[in-house]
C-alpha cells in the first residue's frame, strides 16, 4: 500500500533527527503515540503532539514509561499503528511491557534516542550503550529487530521501515538512535506519498468463532481485530495458538521457539548492510548509527596511505548479520567495531569471527562521538 497523502509532508526540509522520526511515523500511518518526556527524545513527542490532531492521530502524554509502553500495545490491538519514544531510563522502565509486546505479538515501534548511561548518566549527550539492553533487556528468551539511523534522513526512512517490519513480523520493532542524530539538523527529503511503500496490518479472513489469535502451525498469524465479534483471549502467560494459558514445558517450547523463529528464519530478509570497499579489504570497520559516519574520515585517511580498509554500516543491528561477519572473518586480517560503548555489539562480532581473524573494539563511555583519530589508530594497530 502507498502512504496516505494527508500524512506526508512531501518536499525538502531542514529537520533534526527527532522531528524526522516523527514525520516518518506520521508518513507510516502511525495514529497513536503514548510517551513520557525524556531528554534527548522529547522533540519526537512534541512534534507528534502538534501534528497528530491535524491528521486524526491520538497523542497521550502518559504518567510514566511503564504506562506508555502498555498503552501503545493496547492501541495496537485496538487497530492503530502505534509508537513511543524514550531514552535510557525510560527504556529500562519499558522493558517488561516490551516483552509483553513480543509475547502477544503486537506490532508497534519503540524509539530509543540513546544518551550516556548508566542511570541518569548524560541526559544531553550521546551514547550507544543500550544496544545489549535492546537485545536482552526484557526477561526470557526472545529475538528482536533493531535498526540504527545515521542521519535525520535515515531517521525518517528507517522509522517507516520499522513500522513495516513490525507489521510484517507482527512484533515490536526498535529504532535505536542517539542524541547526536536526534539533535542534528540536516536536509531531509520527504518523497511523495506514492513513493512510500507501506505494509499494512494483516487481519484474519476467517469468521468469528473460527479464528484464533495465533493460527495453528503458522509462523506469523494474521491478527484479530478487537471488538468485532472475535471473542479472543490473549495473555502474557505461555499460551497455545488459541491464546489460552498452558503452563508446561511443551507449551513453553512451542511458544518460545515460534517467537524466535519469526526472526531467526528471516535473518536474510531483515539484514541490511551497507558495504564499501569490502571486496579487497584487509581490515573492515564495522559500525552503526552516527558512528558509521564518524569513521569515514579515518577510513579515507588510511586508504590514502594505501591501507586496504573497507566499511560496513549495519542499518539493522539486531538480528546480527552473523552470516556476513563469519564470511568476512575468513577473508580479512581484522574486523574493527566502532561504537559509543565499551564493546557491546563488538561481543557479537567477535563471537561470529570465531578466532578466524583479529577483532578490535574502538569504543568509549559515550558523551561524544568518536574522535576519528582513535578510529585511525585502531586501523593502524590492526594492520601492524
Amino acid at each position: 500500500m502507498k502512504a496516505d497523502p494527508q500524512n506526508v509532508l512531501t518536499g525538502a526540509h531542514y529537520l533534526d533527527g527527532n522531528y524526522a522520526i516523527a514525520e516518518g511515523a506520521i508518513a507510516a500511518g502511525c495514529k497513536f503515540f503514548a510517551g513520557y518526556p525524556i531528554t534527548p527524545s522529547t522533540e519526537i513527542a512534541e512534534r507528534v503532539s502538534r501534528r497528530f490532531p491535524l491528521i486524526g492521530g491520538i497523542f497521550v502524554q502518559m504518567e510514566d514509561e511503564l504506562a506508555s509502553m502498555a498503552a501503545i500495545l493496547g492501541a495496537s490491538w485496538g487497530g492503530k499503528k502505534s509508537m513511543s519514544c524514550t531514552s535510557g531510563p525510560g527504556f529500562s522502565l519499558m522493558m517488561e511491557n516490551f516483552g509483553l509486546g513480543i509475547m502477544l505479538e503486537t506490532p508497534c515501534v519503540l524509539v530509543n534516542v540513546q544518551r550516556g548511561g548508566p542511570s541518569t548518566g548524560l541526559p544531553t549527550l550521546p551514547g550507544q550503550a543500550d544496544m545489549m539492553q535492546a537485545r536482552w533487556g526484557s526477561h526470557g528468551d526472545y529475538e528482536v529487530i533493531a535498526l540504527a539511523p545515521d542521519s535525520p534522513q535515515e531517521g525518517f526512512e528507517l522509522t517507516i521501515h520499522a513500522f513495516n517490519l513490525s507489521e510484517k513480523y507482527r512484533m515490536p520493532v526498535l529504532l535505536m538512535t542517539d542524541e547526536c542524530v536526534g539533535h542534528m539538523t540536516e536536509k531531509v527529503i520527504i518523497p511523495p506519498p506514492e513513493e512510500i511503500e507501506l505494509i499494512e496490518r494483516r487481519y484474519t479472513d476467517k469468521k468469528p468463532g473460527e479464528a484464533w489469535p495465533y493460527q495453528e502451525n503458522e509462523l506469523i498469524s494474521p491478527m484479530l481485530p478487537v471488538g468485532e465479534g472475535y471473542k479472543f483471549h490473549i495473555t502474557g502467560l505461555t499460551h497455545d495458538y488459541r491464546g489460552y494459558p498452558v503452563i508446561n514445558a511443551e507449551a513453553q517450547a512451542e511458544n518460545v521457539d515460534r517467537l524466535m523463529a519469526k526472526v531467526k528464519e528471516n535473518v536474510d530478509d531483515l539484514t541490511w548492510l551497507e558495504e564499501k570497499d569490502v571486496e579487497d579489504a584487509e581490515v573492515v570497520v564495522v559500525s552503526y548509527g552516527i558512528s558509521s559516519r564518524v569513521v569515514q574520515p579515518a577510513i579515507a585517511k588510511a586508504r590514502e596511505e594505501g591501507i586496504k580498509v573497507g566499511q560496513i554500516k549495519m542499518v539493522t543491528v539486531w538480528p546480527f548479520p552473523e552470516k556476513r561477519i563469519r564470511e568476512l572473518a575468513g577473508k580479512v586480517k581484522a574486523l574493527i567495531m566502532v561504537e559509543m560503548n565499551y564493546g557491546q555489539v563488538y561481543l557479537e562480532m567477535d563471537r561470529c569471527a570465531a578466532g578466524r581473524c583479529e577483532t578490535y573494539i574502538c569504543g568509549h563511555a559515550g558523551g561524544t562521538v568518536h574522535d576519528p583519530g582513535s578510529v585511525y589508530s585502531t586501523i593502524k594497530d590492526a594492520v601492524k
Binding site: L66, A70, G78, G227, K231, G236
Partner: protein, 271 residues
C-alpha cells in the same frame, strides 16, 4: 434460571480459584450486568492485570486481554482510544491496581477516561500466597507481615474519588444483587468509573486472620457492609469498623477521549 454458561469459556474450566474465593461471585455479577445492559458481547472488551482477580479475563466469553502486573489500566487506555465506542472493562486486584499500578489508577481517574474498573479487594496478594497489600488492615497478618501489619491501608474508593473519577462505588460479594447493580451503573457511566468489590480470600487472608472458613468471611461482609444511606444516619460510634457500600461518587465531568475528539474536530474546522 439465568444461563451463565453462554457467557463463559467452559473449556477453560476448572478455574484456578480456591473454593470459597469471592472472585467467582464478581464474575457472575459482571455477567448478569452485561446481560441486563444488553451489551452485545462484541461491544465489551475486558483488560486485566496479574493476580487471581485478573484471571477472570480467561473465563468470560468476550474479547479479553490479559496483560502485565499493574498495567491493565494503561493498556486499556490505548484500547479505548483506538476504539472509543467500546465498553472497556478493567479487572484488577487491590495489589494490581493500587500498589504496582497505583500511578496509572490515579492518573486515569484524573483524566476521567471512560473505563470501568472492577477492583477485587481481598486485602491481600492472593496469587503469590498472601503477602501484605496496600489495603491490608492494620494489625492483620500476612505472610510478609507475620507479626501484624503496621502500615495504614489505602481507601481504594477514596483514592479514585480524590483523583477525579466521575463514578465510584463500593460493593461486596455477599450482597451480590446490589453488586450487579453497581457494576451496571459503572458500565453505563461515561467517564472513569470504579467499583471496589470486597471479595474475600479464605486461603491467603482468612486462614491467617481467624476467618479460615468462607462462611465466616461472608458473615463478616454481611454484618459490616452498610449501605450509604444507612451509614449516613449512624453515629460516629456505630460507624466504627463498618464499611460504607453503594454509590459513593456520581458526577458529570468532561471525558478524556471525548475531549480529544473535540480537539481533533476543532483542528479540522480551522484547517
Amino acid at each position: 434460571m439465568f444461563d451463565y454458561l453462554t457467557y463463559v469459556r467452559e473449556g477453560n474450566f476448572p478455574h484456578i480459584w480456591c473454593s470459597g474465593c469471592g472472585h467467582g461471585i464478581v464474575l457472575k455479577s459482571f455477567i448478569r450486568a452485561i446481560d441486563k445492559l444488553g451489551i452485545h458481547r462484541d461491544e465489551a472488551v475486558m483488560v486485566s492485570g496479574i493476580g487471581c482477580s485478573s484471571r477472570t479475563a480467561g473465563y468470560v466469553d468476550i474479547n479479553t486481554l490479559h496483560t502485565t502486573h499493574g498495567r491493565a489500566i494503561a493498556f486499556a487506555t490505548g484500547v479505548k482510544f483506538a476504539n472509543p465506542k467500546l465498553h472497556v472493562i478493567v479487572v484488577t486486584g487491590d495489589g494490581d491496581a493500587t500498589a504496582i499500578g497505583g500511578n496509572h489508577y490515579i492518573h486515569a481517574a484524573r483524566r476521567n477516561i471512560d473505563l470501568t474498573v472492577l477492583i477485587y479487594n481481598n486485602y491481600i496478594y492472593g496469587m503469590t500466597g498472601g503477602q501484605v497489600s496496600p489495603t491490608t488492615p492494620r494489625g492483620a497478618r500476612a505472610s510478609t507481615s507475620p507479626f501484624g501489619n503496621i502500615e495504614p491501608p489505602f481507601n481504594i474508593s477514596g483514592l479514585a474519588s480524590a483523583a477525579g473519577a466521575s463514578f465510584v462505588a463500593r460493593g461486596d460479594v455477599y450482597h451480590a444483587q446490589k453488586l450487579e447493580k453497581l457494576i451496571t451503573q459503572a458500565i453505563q457511566k461515561k467517564g472513569f468509573s470504579v467499583v471496589e468489590v470486597l471479595s474475600p480470600c479464605p486461603t491467603a487472608y482468612g486462614r491467617r486472620n481467624r476467618m479460615a472458613s468462607p462462611v465466616t468471611l461472608m458473615e463478616w461482609l454481611r454484618d459490616n457492609c452498610i449501605p450509604v444511606k444507612k451509614y449516613e444516619k449512624m453515629s460516629e460510634e456505630e460507624r466504627s469498623g463498618k464499611i460504607r457500600t453503594g454509590v459513593l461518587i456520581d458526577i458529570e465531568k468532561p471525558e478524556f477521549t471525548e475531549e480529544y475528539r473535540k480537539l481533533v474536530d476543532s483542528m479540522q474546522v480551522r484547517g
